[in-house]
């Protein structure tokens, strides 16, 4: 049986709590808005798949790759990698090689876990962009990404990753890595078109993580 005293006290508490919540919102929302406005260069849009026009992705042709690292070197130069950070990497083992950066996944895990919504996925082409200005440096995306695309920079204390050279693409140029490849082992384009290339394997080879996790926009043509 709730007593009258009990009731009034709880009502008071409810009022008090709502007052606190209101105060917190009043204090919290405007700075958040301001910071959000700060990140204006990127069209801050939520992921809405139905109205996304195309999904860009990379194609890596292992049969052509000569492991010259031109893609990674060009990327480093153009994008000014922070010390200890690698936006693109060339993996190699005795029998295989692989050049990989961010796969601009259809279902990006980084975007899902990032508490500060530093990640956005462009409607226009599905590019996943990380805004370092918003990044709080928690490192959650570092764990969530199956491909180790987000990289933590010790100097800035923030994450950065491959942006698919979106500014360059917006001006009509190719991404620098694709441009730098001397043997055309690295290409990019609409992922649906790339998947139709002869020998293209969308399910990803070479001991790569299951594409089920994030549905990466990446296809490979593997050595036989």
């Amino acid at each position: 049986m709730p007593k009258i005293g009990d009731l009034s006290l709880s009502r008071r508490l409810v009022l008090k709590t709502s007052a606190w919540v209101a105060a917190a919102l009043v204090i919290g929302v405007p700075p958040a808005r301001i910071l959000l406005a700060d990140s204006a260069p990127i069209a801050a849009v939520p992921v809405t798949k139905p109205d996304q026009k195309i999904q860009l992705g990379f194609l890596y042709d292992e049969t052509k790759c000569i492991e010259c690292w031109a893609c990674a070197t060009a990327c480093k130069k153009a994008n000014n990698w922070e010390e200890g950070v690698q936006w693109r990497k060339v993996f190699n083992s005795d029998s295989h090689s692989l050049s990989m950066s961010c796969n601009h996944c259809a279902d990006p895990a980084c975007l899902k876990v990032c508490p500060v919504t530093a990640y956005t996925k462009r409607k226009k082409d599905g590019i996943v962009i990380h805004n370092s200005k918003r990044c709080v440096g928690c490192g959650y995306c570092l764990y969530a990404c199956p491909y180790h695309a987000p990289q933590f920079g010790e100097t800035t204390g923030a994450i950065s990753k491959c942006s698919f050279c979106y500014q360059r693409q917006d001006q009509g140029y190719d991404p620098v890595c694709v441009n730098a490849c001397p043997v055309k082992a690295l290409r990019y384009g609409d992922i649906e078109t790339l998947k139709k290339e002869a020998g293209a394997n969308a399910s990803l080879i070479l001991g790569m993580p299951s594409p089920e996790i994030t549905r990466p926009s990446f296809v490979t043509i593997a050595k036989k």
Partner: protein, 341 residues
């Protein structure tokens, strides 16, 4: 291989679980679910919220921007799809409600029911969050096992109970009324052991893929084997289980012998009904002080050794709980670890 999260995150998850469940146990003790556990009813309120707040404070130091641009932390409330954002909401609410509850307990004011239940609910949510944070990461197959959140909750409960038992030992003078806490604790440790066997059995046999297998084997047989087997399994689980089991058996025996005493006393003189009721209630629920003394005279161990064993076991449980979180965080390999075989 890059492992970003270190000690601070382990301490944060550990304190989050410990503080929240200390609060939860005080709630349970207060509501009478732990039997006559009067001594545990307030301590959890006092230590719960501050410990969680301390852990959350440590987290700030682990953030890359925690000291550079701390105002960015407010943005951590913005992604409703992120478990970390949920956690920030849950923790903030728990710290607030927990402090309010502690204040009411301190000033001996009656607490409104909503506050009690909201506190308990948020405490349990905090425990669950510490496990869910890791579980949802599919790219770390060893974390992505559904039993991981369960393990974190059970382990949090046992460390929380241990922590209030330890504090009660020093702050509550005279008899320590733990009620059914000992049995609850015993059950929690047994559950934790079973869940650990299930998780490691599943992962080590390859049931969760090659990367999870590698992680599990690293803990079972690799570089983390020593802290796992000696620290967590031995010191943190088996030893306290053994001590609690002995205590429970002894307590049962005492209750039985007390019953007998009451019977013989009854045969000597005829007490009034009230007296019988009193002594029965006392012996059934609790071991009164004089009986403990009596028992000490009979048993070979002195009274001090008994409580010291429990105290040390509680310490070992807390140590084990911390070790568990460290092991799970440090030993977890990412999927990209096996790139190109």
């Amino acid at each position: 291989m890059v492992q970003h999260w270190g000690w601070l995150i382990a301490i944060y998850l550990f304190l989050g679980g410990l503080g929240a469940s200390a609060h939860l146990f005080s709630f349970l003790a207060e509501k009478g679910y732990l039997g006559e556990a009067g001594s545990l009813a307030r301590i959890g309120y006092y230590i719960g919220s501050p410990l969680v707040a301390m852990g959350a404070g440590l987290l700030i130091f682990d953030l890359g921007q925690g000291l550079h641009k701390p105002w960015l932390i407010i943005l951590m409330f913005t992604n409703y799809r992120s478990v970390m954002t949920w956690g920030i909401y849950i923790l903030s609410a728990f710290i607030f409600v927990g402090l309010a509850r502690a204040y009411l307990a301190w000033t001996k004011k009656e607490s409104p029911k909503i506050l009690d239940y909201a506190g308990a609910f948020l405490a349990l949510s905090t425990c669950m969050y510490t496990g869910m944070l890791l579980y949802v990461v599919k790219a770390i197959p060893f974390w992505n096992i559904p039993l991981i959140p369960v393990l974190f909750v059970v382990s949090a409960l046992s460390t929380g109970l241990s922590s209030i038992s330890i504090v009660a030992h020093f702050t509550e003078k005279g008899e320590l009324k733990e009620g059914r806490a000992l049995e609850a604790h015993w059950l929690l440790l047994l559950m934790e052991l079973i869940i650990l066997v299930a998780i490691f059995g599943l992962a080590s046999s390859g049931g969760r893929g090659p990367v999870a297998q590698l992680s599990a084997n690293k803990i079972l047989f690799g570089s983390y084997a020593l802290p796992f087997w000696i620290g967590l399994i031995g010191l943190g689980l088996v030893v306290p289980l053994f001590v609690y089991t002995r205590m429970i058996i002894r307590k049962k025996k005492q209750v039985r012998s007390n019953m007998k005493n009451v019977m013989t006393e009854q045969s000597e003189y005829v007490p009034c009904a009230q007296e019988i009721e009193n002594s029965n209630v006392a012996t059934m629920l609790e071991v009164p002080e004089e009986n403990v003394q009596e028992d000490v005279a009979v048993s070979s161990e002195p009274h001090g050794a008994t409580s010291k064993a429990i105290l040390l076991s509680d310490g070992a449980v807390i140590f084990g709980g911390f070790l568990l979180r460290c092991l799970i965080i440090f030993a977890s390999l990412p999927t990209w670890n096996s790139m190109l075989g």
